[in-house]
């Protein structure tokens, strides 16, 4: 679905290319040493430092209770930081009330005012800004066109479908032309198909308007689809802040490796580190080579992370790492066959075999060899410890 280009005369700079923007952020939003505690005993957000560039689509991704929504609420002004500063355009906004921040926000359940029509909902932010009647009508009309609901102005929110409500919520957050829009799990209430469609629509609106978007979600696929950069939250800390491809391919710790995409874990002990690589002895005594990413010296515990699509079964040529395994389960998924194996004492070792012509028939219980390249196997901090 295409999104119509609608001129919103934003002050924000239009999308100017990812590379330049990331290297020299002009700091639209900055979190400086921000901490947040609700009960005075535990920190929900621990020492957050984050720069968000103008026009960027930044996603805060993490499991529930990881502090991502709290960060968003602090930025919106509904929670106050216990310590530290939040800067908007270089100015601290800790003491600015929410209605003076000029930040658009899309809420989890849309929060469309049920006693107002769609048009009245959209007019609300303009009316509180005391815009003229004609101006309000023109902007409401344009906003409805932007989300492709030009005929729905007279309806009540309850008369709209979930997807339509979602679009109205987005339009309402944009209609007063903020240059920063916050979205708090806005697609959580939609079914899968609609969710994917809305992901593209929101992404396109962002590209067309050039607004800065801070997006909160716990759905990693959503984050990968939409974001310029993703901040992975866990336990009140940003675990890794990077572009989607880097996060998937080069996770820096075992939490990120496990949270983003599928991941095979093997526990072991480092025996030697040299030149970016390391030797790791697994729990069953076999030794493998891995890329040394986040390990201590020799003798420290580590968790190896290997993506399922980077593993070969019965490889044609010899690979640096070869282990014996036994097929435990085959699940046919159309484009690929998900194969669960018993390898090195783990029975949850997963390999994705693409459904190509060269695929050889396999059966349960069949002994096979599995192999992978050293650069695909990342030695990270021990998982869960």
């Amino acid at each position: 679905m295409t999104v119509k280009m609608v001129s919103f005369n934003l002050r924000g700079v239009m999308n100017e290319g990812n590379a330049t923007r990331r290297e020299s952020p002009d700091g639209h939003v900055r979190f400086v040493d921000v901490q947040k505690s609700y009960d005075g005993e535990t920190l929900v957000v621990k020492n957050l430092n984050l720069d968000i560039a103008r026009g960027e689509f930044l996603t805060m991704l993490g499991p529930s209770g990881s502090g991502k929504t709290t960060c968003l609420m602090m930025l919106a002004g509904f929670e106050t930081a216990t310590h530290g500063d939040i800067l908007l355009d270089g100015k601290p906004i800790n003491n600015v009330p929410p209605h003076k921040r000029g930040i658009g926000m899309v809420f989890q359940n849309y929060a469309l005012f049920p006693h107002m029509t769609v048009a009245e909902n959209l007019a609300f932010p303009l009316q509180v800004r005391k815009l003229g009647k004609a101006d309000v009508e023109a902007k409401v009309k344009r906003a409805l066109e932007m989300v492709e609901l030009p005929q729905m102005g007279a309806r009540r929110p309850a008369q709209l479908s979930g997807g339509q409500q979602q679009r109205v919520a987005v339009a309402r957050a944009l209609v007063f032309e903020p240059d920063l829009v916050l979205m708090d799990e806005p697609l959580g209430a939609l079914d899968k198909q609609l969710r994917e469609q809305m992901q593209y629509e929101i992404k396109h609106i962002h590209e067309n308007l050039g607004v800065t978007v801070v997006y909160v979600t716990h759905d990693q696929a959503e984050a990968l689809t939409m974001s310029d950069r993703i901040a992975v939250f866990n336990d009140g800390i940003i675990q890794q802040l990077s572009t989607p491809d880097v996060l998937y391919e080069k996770p820096e710790n075992s939490f990120v490796a496990q949270f983003i995409g599928e991941n095979n874990r093997l526990n072991g002990k480092v025996t030697a580190v040299s030149d970016g690589d390391c030797r790791v002895v697994l729990e069953d005594g076999r030794e493998v080579n891995a890329l040394s990413v986040n390990v201590g010296g020799a003798g420290s515990q580590t968790t190896l992370s290997i993506r399922p699509e980077r593993i070969e079964i019965d490889p044609a040529s010899t690979l640096p790492n070869m282990l014996d395994g036994k097929i435990a389960e085959l699940i046919y998924l159309g484009d690929h066959v998900r194969t669960r194996l018993e390898v090195a004492g783990h029975d949850d070792f997963v390999v994705k075999l693409p459904n190509t012509q060269s695929r050889r028939p396999l059966h349960d219980g069949q002994p096979v060899k599995v192999g992978w390249r050293t650069e695909d196997c990342r030695a990270l901090d021990p998982f869960g410890g």
Binding site: H99, N109, F113
Partner: protein
């Protein structure tokens, strides 16, 4: 679509149109459905039958009976049937003729025997003050009367020579009468049947009705004003705290109405706690203590307190369902806290406001005990006068007419309310 019908068995469509569908056992489907539903309906009816009966006996029948009583008063025609019959022939121009007097004298003898003359005397006395003793004495002397009865009766008491009394009697002899409704709005029919206002000093009921509506309105307004913030607080506090506060709101429900009202007497009377404190603080003089009870003020204070939970509870139940994100959304869209509250929050509580207002107003309009105890002279409501007629004057028809007017007033208000707010939007807790 074309391919589908091509593959359909020929004739199926025609059968469905021509013959009614049958169930598996051959009975027509429509009949079978009715049978199946009848059993379910019968069971449902049996389940609600006891309640239906209860409502009929305790609610519809008494109210219907009361409403009938307000315009149906057959005492005269039952006690004095011959007089009633004879009066039908009387044109009302001059004194009735001998036949009427004769019938009346006969009826008086029966009435004396049955000791029923008092009822008629009371009945006629409502409309013709001072006639009561004439009836009782005439009944006492009835055995001594001899023809011509006209002269005999007038000789016994001059009042029997008054055409006006006979006109009143003719009206009273009719079982169906608007008299009580007229009286309930300070009107009466004069001897010639015209509707006129009653004497100035007897005009009370319209004033009482207006006062009742006014006081109920003030009390409703106060309940809403005081209840709204309390309900808001209850709805926005964490559950533990709000449960505790809810007990405080409900506490008055669990205390006897009399105890609560008496507590207000102890607080408000001129030698009461509030006046004592004010005097002790030198805010008022000892000999100019405030009169806060046994007047309208007392009624308003005590009734507002008693009816407050009825406005808090529906408001609370509505507010509880309004998620805080609406207010947040409004704030993020640029509304000040006040605008967000007034434009976003309050409109969503309208069903609760409406329910609270309706409940409190209807309860206040019909309130009896509290105004009776703390209302003094000018804090009495229409219910107190209904009680007066039920218990003291025993003019039940008058009580019924006042009750009927109260009922009609409430129904008009309910209708208006439905027009303005819409009863389907109501949420009664």
């Amino acid at each position: 679509m074309a391919t589908v019908s091509d593959h359909m068995t020929p004739g199926i469509g025609q059968v469905a149109v021509d013959a009614p569908l049958t169930a598996a056992d051959g009975t027509p489907l429509r009949k079978k459905l009715a049978q199946a539903n009848r059993r379910a309906r019968l069971r449902a009816t049996l389940l609600v039958a006891p309640l239906l009966l209860f409502v009929l006996i305790t609610f519809i029948v008494p109210i219907g009976q009361m409403l009938v009583r307000s315009f149906h008063e057959p005492t005269f025609s039952e006690v004095l049937p011959r007089t009633t019959e004879a009066l039908k022939q009387w044109d009302g121009a001059d004194l009735p003729d001998e036949a009427v007097f004769a019938a009346f004298a006969d009826d008086l003898k029966d009435a004396k025997e049955n000791r029923t003359i008092g009822q008629v005397a009371t009945r006629v006395n409502y409309a013709y003050a001072g006639s009561r003793s004439a009836f009782t004495s005439a009944a006492r002397k009835s055995t001594g009367f001899e023809a011509p009865y006209k002269e005999a009766l007038i000789a016994a008491d001059d009042v029997w020579g008054e055409r006006d009394l006979w006109a009143v009697m003719k009206r009273a002899s009719k079982s169906y009468t608007p008299e009580f409704y007229l009286a309930a709005v300070d009107r009466t029919t004069d001897v010639d049947g015209n509707i006129v206002m009653v004497d100035d000093f007897r005009q009370i009921y319209v004033k009482i009705l207006l006062r009742t509506l006014y006081l109920a309105g003030v009390i409703t307004g106060l309940c809403l004003l005081l209840g709204y913030p309390v309900a808001f607080l209850l709805a926005s506090l964490p559950t533990r705290t709000s449960n505790l506060l809810m007990i405080l709101v409900l506490l008055p429900f669990w205390t006897s109405l009399l105890v609560r009202t008496t507590a207000w007497i102890a607080l408000l009377q001129s030698q009461g706690i509030i006046n004592d404190v004010l005097v002790a603080m030198w805010l008022i003089d000892d000999d100019s203590r405030l009169q806060m009870i046994y007047n309208q003020t007392g009624t308003i204070i005590a009734m507002t307190h008693i009816l407050l939970p009825f406005s808090i509870l529906p408001l609370f139940s509505v507010m509880k369902t309004i998620p805080p994100t609406y207010m947040r959304a409004a704030r993020s869209l640029g509304a000040t806290p006040w605008t967000a509250f007034w434009k976003i929050y309050v409109p969503q509580t309208v069903p609760g406001i409406a329910a609270g207002v309706l409940l409190v107003f209807i309860l206040a309009v019909g309130y009896y005990i509290t105004p009776a105890l703390v209302g003094g002279q000018d804090g009495q409501l229409i219910s107190n006068f209904i009680a007066l007629h039920m218990q003291k004057t025993l003019n039940w028809s008058m009580a019924a007419a006042l009750g009927g007017i109260l009922l009609a007033t409430i129904m008009v208000l309910y209708w208006l309310f439905n027009k303005i707010v819409g009863i389907d939007r109501l949420k009664l807790g």
